[in-house]
């Protein structure tokens, strides 16, 4: 439980930092970042709801309770870490996206 909450808290912190970096960003920066950013936002939102589900399942002894705890741990450890890669991609800024000239496509 602590692991799931901690991982989600770390992911939230990355999302906060990335959100701050996009404040007042120009059109190209937003355009290059937007899809990766939305995926980060979705992953953190899913992580949050998994924390809630794990909390609701905490201490429960039925197979369903155990399955919910296992699923929450799966999400937090095997899917949520995608936010790290996405944050890194966004932090690279729009220049690599715009560098290739149109006639080289």
């Amino acid at each position: 439980m602590r692991l799931i909450a901690a991982r989600t808290g770390e992911a939230l912190e990355l999302l906060r930092q990335t959100t701050a970096s996009l404040k007042g960003a120009d059109v190209d920066s937003l355009g290059a970042a937007a899809v990766d950013y939305l995926r980060m936002f979705a992953l953190v939102s899913f992580g949050w709801i998994w924390v809630r589900m794990a909390q609701a399942a905490a201490g429960g002894e039925t197979p369903l309770h155990a399955a919910k705890r296992d699923m929450a741990r799966y999400f937090a450890t095997r899917m949520l870490p995608q936010v790290q890669g996405l944050a890194s991609q966004i932090a690279a800024g729009p220049e690599p996206v715009l560098a290739l000239k149109v006639d080289m496509f």
Binding site: M1, G9, L12, K23, L30, V44, F46, I49, R52
Partner: protein, 306 residues
């Protein structure tokens, strides 16, 4: 063009109209964006009109057929039960909805609710998951991890588990999050306090692109992974898995492509109330994660989360 009463004659064409017409009977009411004769240029000159398939008589009965028709039907990758129409309007009678030249604002009221509903379509992944689990428990292929049994159901293989769990961890989170977002949706309409309604509406506005694009992107990926579990049979129409992939694909595109949703989130929704709406959402998430995931929430915590 104005007809001289309170109606207008509308002429033009639009494409990608889902179920622009059908044979189930009754009337079909179209919402059409069009320009008035004196309209300013650009988006500031767009008005919204209501254009029915049948004109309605004073007693409420369906009367004459209106001047609109289906020009052609699109042949699509999926959702084949949905007739996707080119609609032609030839002096069709229509009535203004809302104020002249304020059509886009009026249309977005409908669009925003639609975007949330399209996000739910990403949860088709749940059906794909069910089929994939059924197959994975029965299909025998490959050796057990300890080497003692051969063949074993493919659900014993870590890679197959991984695909199934990717799908399920999205589906269960998506269902829970959808149910949770439905609360501020209701509150935005029905709460007695205007400030509470506005606050709920702002939260829904923030999360709408996340639900629409997040659920449908993960939904499509899930359909592909569920298909992958079937190996070669996943490519064969009779097994049903390729249909999930073809049908899930459109939800990433219509009602505003996921790229458009992302620009809406990053370019518009993050600055709602000067950033206060997104900060409020992040604070709400943090209130769960900061306490190390301890259970036993107080009543006020539960209210704060809603």
């Amino acid at each position: 063009m104005p007809n001289g009463d309170d109606s207008y004659a509308i002429t033009g064409q639009k494409i990608f109209i889902s179920t622009g017409d059908h044979d189930f009977g009754g009337n079909i009411v179209h919402l059409v964006l069009a320009r008035l004769p004196d309209a300013p240029e650009g988006v500031k000159g767009i008005s919204l009109f209501l254009v029915p398939k049948f004109l309605v008589q004073a007693d409420g009965a369906l009367g004459a057929r209106n001047g609109m028709s289906v020009g052609s039907l699109e042949e699509k990758m999926g959702i084949h039960a949905q007739p996707t129409c080119v609609m032609n309007y030839d002096d069709a009678t229509g009535w203004l909805v809302g104020e002249p030249n304020r059509g886009l604002a009026a249309m977005f009221t409908m669009m925003n609710a639609e975007r949330l509903m399209v996000g739910i379509q990403g949860l088709i992944a749940g059906a794909a998951y069910g089929q994939a689990v059924g197959y994975a428990k029965e299909r025998l292929q490959g050796r057990s991890a300890d080497g003692t049994r051969n063949p074993v159901p493919i659900i014993e293989h870590a890679d197959v588990r991984r695909m199934l769990l990717n799908v399920r961890s999205f589906v269960e989170a998506g269902r829970a999050l959808a149910g949770w977002v439905a609360l501020p949706m209701d509150r935005a309409h029905h709460h007695a306090d205007a400030a509470e309604r506005a606050k709920a509406d702002a939260l829904v506005a923030l999360l709408t692109p996340v639900v629409k694009a997040g659920f449908t992107d993960f939904g499509f990926e899930s359909a592909v992974q569920a298909q992958q579990v079937f190996g070669g049979h996943g490519y064969i129409r009779e097994w049903g898995m390729e249909q999930y992939v073809r049908d899930a694909r459109i939800a990433q595109i219509y009602e505003g492509t996921n790229g458009v949703q992302a620009m809406d989130l990053a370019g518009r929704k993050l600055s709602l109330a000067g950033g206060a709406v997104v900060d409020g959402f992040f604070d709400m998430v943090a209130s769960r994660t900061d306490r190390g995931g301890q259970g036993g929430r107080s009543a006020s915590d539960r209210r704060a989360d809603r």
